[in-house]
């Protein structure tokens, strides 16, 4: 027994000694280690990827014809792989001149043929984000004429009608506009898939980094592209590891095992704010949190009941108590920093007003609703706070927590009472949110316009639909912005959407990390700007 105890103690001591020396103190100077929740990545093909983490990865591995300058995002779209462009007088033909001297990570030179191939395959593959391009009238049958490389340096794009130039170019800057190395993609083609099977798990771009490895739900590693046309990335390697737990991210950041922690809760942000070795970066992102009332159901379709909901939410209170620094109050459908942003915040918590409105509507105490909410801590906390204030106003609200996929099924089938969730813009143009919140050309069940939130909530808006359609065609940017502001003002008054918050991303960083751009509302994370 004594022998056994001593042997065991000696063994444990050996393990502890061995392991305690194994921990590293800090990450190397030319290497960035990031902890983030990256389990949402489904595909790495730019024609298909549509999730936040996938967008981050592709931002760094591909370039687009039109891009944002990460060092000056507010300047709007800038030349990317297209060095310049002209638009015909009728506003339908875009002639883009390709940048010289750009090579892919494979070493292949970039030409207009690659741009033609990339945009055409995005249309032909018909994956979910393809609508960002097909909304300009590109179809399987006409792309040979509408997206065409006329020579190695020139790409001509012809839209079906005149759109605001900013709308077309902003859409080309979305992930789906990423330019793929045609030769590499086709060398991996199987059964005419244009390299889709291979590109789902590999990358072939001109971006600052090449993907070295990707292990789903685990990690990915990026290696600097020596041929990158913009600059030589200071970080030679970027490791992004999936760590979903905030406390685990924080511990690793404090220890110096990682340089960047991207999913810290308010508690962990507060905890590190006094640490001299760390800093917190705040960036306003595009995600909007809202609650919507199904207009197919009475009494939720009574305008007075809808308005009562808007007065029965404690916007400021929630940002101070449960959302601490991670959301700001925002009550219009376009995220702040978007063209046409509206800063008006007409609603605040006013229980008396909500009660009066309900009484006027003849529903002083008989409104009972189910609120479908995603079973995630932030949304649940918001829902519980709203449930409390709604009760004070005389509305009996029952919360139905659901997984993301589960809640979407009911929402898209227009079977919900009230939905509480979030919406992130698909591309950096105001039409992305206007099209979903304020455009519903056919409110019938058969139309199944499931991509539009206005349709999902059964909100019939022929006039606002016309106004939204007009705004997307306006060539003058200042006028266009004013049109969106007018639509949003009306939307705030009449819509069944209670828009509440806009996301602020708080990132924890080691003090020596400089230049990390998380992308604001219009872009994604950039690693090539980072120095240490």
């Amino acid at each position: 027994m004594t022998k056994f105890t001593s042997a065991f103690a000696a063994g444990m001591l050996a393990v502890v000694t061995m392991t305690s020396t194994a921990a590293l103190a800090a990450t190397p100077k030319d290497t960035l280690v990031v902890a983030a929740a990256i389990d949402d990545i489904v595909s790495l093909d730019p024609a298909e990827a549509f999730e936040f983490s996938g967008g981050d990865l592709l931002q760094n591995t591909y370039d687009r014809l039109v891009e944002f300058d990460p060092k000056n995002l507010s300047a709007g779209y800038q030349p990317g792989l297209a060095a310049s462009w002209t638009v015909s007088e009728d506003g339908k033909t875009y002639t883009l001149t390709m940048r010289d001297g750009v090579t892919f990570q494979s070493g292949n030179p970039f030409t207009a043929e690659d741009a033609e191939f990339s945009l055409r395959r995005a249309v032909l593959l018909e994956k979910t984000p393809s609508f960002i391009l097909t909304q300009f009238g590109f179809t399987k049958d006409n792309i040979n004429d509408t997206i065409k490389a006329t020579d190695a340096k020139t790409l001509v794009i012809v839209t079906d009608k005149k759109y605001a130039q900013s709308f077309v170019l902003n859409c080309l800057s979305a992930t789906i506009g990423s330019i793929v190395d045609k030769k590499t993609a086709l060398s991996h083609e199987k059964d005419g898939d244009m390299g889709y099977g291979w590109l789902k798990t590999n990358t072939a771009g001109t971006g600052a980094y090449a993907l070295k490895s990707w292990k789903a739900n685990e990690s990915y590693v990026l290696e600097a592209n020596a041929n990158f046309w913009r600059a030589k990335p200071a970080m030679k390697r970027v490791f992004v590891r999936h760590v979903s737990e905030s406390a685990s991210q924080r511990l690793q950041l404090e220890k110096g095992d990682i340089d960047v922690a991207r999913n810290l809760t308010p508690d962990d942000i507060a905890a590190i704010s006094g640490n001299a070795d760390l800093k917190v970066d705040e960036d306003l992102r595009g995600r909007i949190v809202y609650m919507s009332l199904n207009q197919k159901k009475a009494p939720l379709n009574d305008p007075k009941v809808v308005e009562a909901f808007k007065w029965a939410v404690d916007y400021e209170g929630m940002t101070k108590t449960i959302l601490r620094g991670q959301y700001t109050v925002h009550q219009a459908f376009l995220p702040l920093t978007y063209l046409g942003e509206l800063k008006d915040k007409p609603y605040k918590l006013d229980i008396a007003k909500a009660k009066a409105l309900l009484a006027e509507a003849g529903h002083a105490s008989d409104v009972a609703v189910k609120i479908n909410v995603r079973n995630e801590p932030t949304y649940m906390a918001i829902a519980q706070a709203i449930q409390g204030t709604l009760t004070q106003a005389g509305i009996n609200a029952e919360l139905t927590p659901m997984t993301g996929k589960q809640s979407l099924g009911e929402y898209r089938a227009r079977e919900h009472d009230v939905y509480l969730g979030a919406w992130g813009p698909d591309y950096p143009d105001p039409h992305t949110n206007a099209d979903t919140f304020a455009h519903n050309p056919n409110n019938s069940d058969e139309a199944k316009l499931t991509g539009k939130l206005a349709w999902r909530n059964g909100w019939d808006i022929p006039e606002m639909t016309k106004a939204t359609a007009a705004a997307v065609e306006e060539a003058d940017s200042a006028k266009r912005a004013e049109m969106y502001r007018a639509i949003q003002r009306e939307h705030q008054q009449t819509s069944p959407f209670v828009i509440m918050f806009q996301k602020i991303e708080q990132t924890g960083l080691r003090k020596n990390v400089e230049g990390l751009v998380t992308g604001s509302a219009i872009s994604s994370v950039h690693y090539w700007t980072v120095t240490k």
């Binding site: 027994m1 056994f4 065991f8 393990v15 502890v16 061995m18 392991t19 305690s20 020396t21 194994a22 921990a23 590293l24 290497t31 280690v33 389990d39 489904v42 595909s43 790495l44 549509f50 999730e51 018909e126 994956k127 979910t128 984000p129 393809s130 609508f131 789902k200 798990t201 490895s213 292990k215 789903a216 739900n217 685990e218 990690s219 590693v221 490791f239 590891r241 999936h242 760590v243 979903s244 737990e245 406390a247 685990s248 511990l251 690793q252 404090e254 220890k255 095992d257 659901m402 997984t403 996929k405 589960q406 979407l408 099924g409 009911e410 898209r412 199944k448 316009l449 499931t450 991509g451």
Partner: protein, 353 residues
């Protein structure tokens, strides 16, 4: 006599081999039925869940056309029994389908995540048994005295502490403050892909490659999550050992052994514990099997990419190929461990042969 003897001996051998084949056949049939039942139930649960698997593929923004084309391509328009039949025939061909979440064949995903769980569960069970069995014996021998109370208290603590909390506290103390172990993950990022993957179990692969630095790093990463999981195993094993031992120590053969003058250590550790081994093997196998299912919370806290996290994620995203593939693996593990405990049972108990 000798002739008769030979004949009867040959007949016995024939009968015994025949019964062996019959037993084996019965076992195979029961295995097949169990697996089929497991697949059917999982398949049906996947289909009645209020989650739309098409949305998992196409995402929230998909248009009606994209949605319907995808639904048809996934075969979801076929009747349920045809979908199940298609699935079974594919599984029999070794094709578990593609995971929606990872865009890779499910079989490749499982080959990646299962060794992570296997490694963690094995080290955890080793720790649990190495400490739990002696602790149980000591508690039984000292029934009602302080060592007994201590072991029972530790066991109770192990049962009642949420793994999430215990894991975070462990990280805070042993990684954050004391710096004794490495943080979340299976390896430091710089060691990833350094040694070639042979078994997927990094502790073994690094030894095969002769890379002691990677081995030490992997060990420093596994110690804490394995200790947290092992603590649960310890709590269960020590409690069961104590109760089995108390039963044995009250038996007459123990008194006889003492009367014969055998040393107390021999009586306890050889005779009493020897008889406890039979039920204890089942307990350990069950505890091991539970850990092999994957402990989702431990995997989340320690960013350990194991099968529990994989199946849970797949289930929430309606990635049914991945869920079914994972279920088959867990099913096989359970059945395999049951068989193994049966074999060990026969080995340690002559009456069972």
């Amino acid at each position: 006599m000798s002739l008769t003897g030979t004949t009867s001996g040959g007949r016995r051998a024939w009968l015994s081999s025949r019964s062996g084949i019959l037993k084996g056949g019965r076992l195979l049939v029961s295995l097949a039925v169990t697996m089929l039942g497991l697949l059917l139930i999982t398949f049906l649960i996947g289909r009645v869940m209020p989650i739309d698997p098409v949305l998992a593929v196409v995402g929230e923004r998909a248009t009606k056309e994209v949605y319907e084309a995808t639904r048809a391509a996934m075969g979801l328009d076929d009747p349920l029994y045809i979908q199940f039949w298609n699935y079974i025939t594919e599984v029999l061909r070794g094709d578990f389908g593609m995971s929606l979440l990872t865009s890779r064949p499910v079989i490749e995903d499982i080959a990646r995540v299962f060794p992570a769980t296997l490694e963690l569960a094995t080290v955890a069970t080793f720790l649990g048994v190495a400490i739990g069995v002696p602790a149980g014996v000591v508690a039984a021998v000292n029934q009602g005295r302080w060592p007994d109370h201590l072991v029972r208290l530790l066991g109770l603590f192990g049962y009642s502490m949420p793994v999430f909390w215990l894991g975070l506290m462990g990280l805070l103390v042993f990684y954050g403050k004391l710096d004794w172990v490495a943080g979340p993950g299976r390896l430091d990022v710089f060691f990833e892909d350094v040694v070639p993957q042979v078994t997927g179990v990094i502790l073994i692969d690094s030894l095969l490659a002769g890379d002691t630095e990677v081995f030490a790093n992997a060990l420093s990463h596994i110690v804490l999550p394995a200790s947290v999981l092992g603590y649960y195993s310890l709590a269960y094993v020590s409690r069961m050992t104590r109760s089995f031992m108390l039963e044995q120590l009250a038996q007459e053969y123990v008194t006889t052994a003492r009367v014969k003058g055998l040393s107390e250590a021999r009586v306890i550790w050889r005779h009493a514990l020897g008889n406890v081994m039979v039920p204890l093997i089942t307990v350990i196998a069950l505890s091991y099997a539970n850990l092999l299912e994957g402990s989702v919370l431990t995997e989340i806290v320690f960013a350990w990419p194991g099968i529990g996290f994989y199946i849970t994620n797949a289930l929430l995203a309606a990635d049914m190929s991945a869920v079914l593939g994972g279920t088959v693996v867990v099913g096989i593990v359970f059945i395999g461990l049951n068989l193994l405990s049966d074999v060990l049972y026969r080995f340690v108990d002559p009456r069972a042969r």
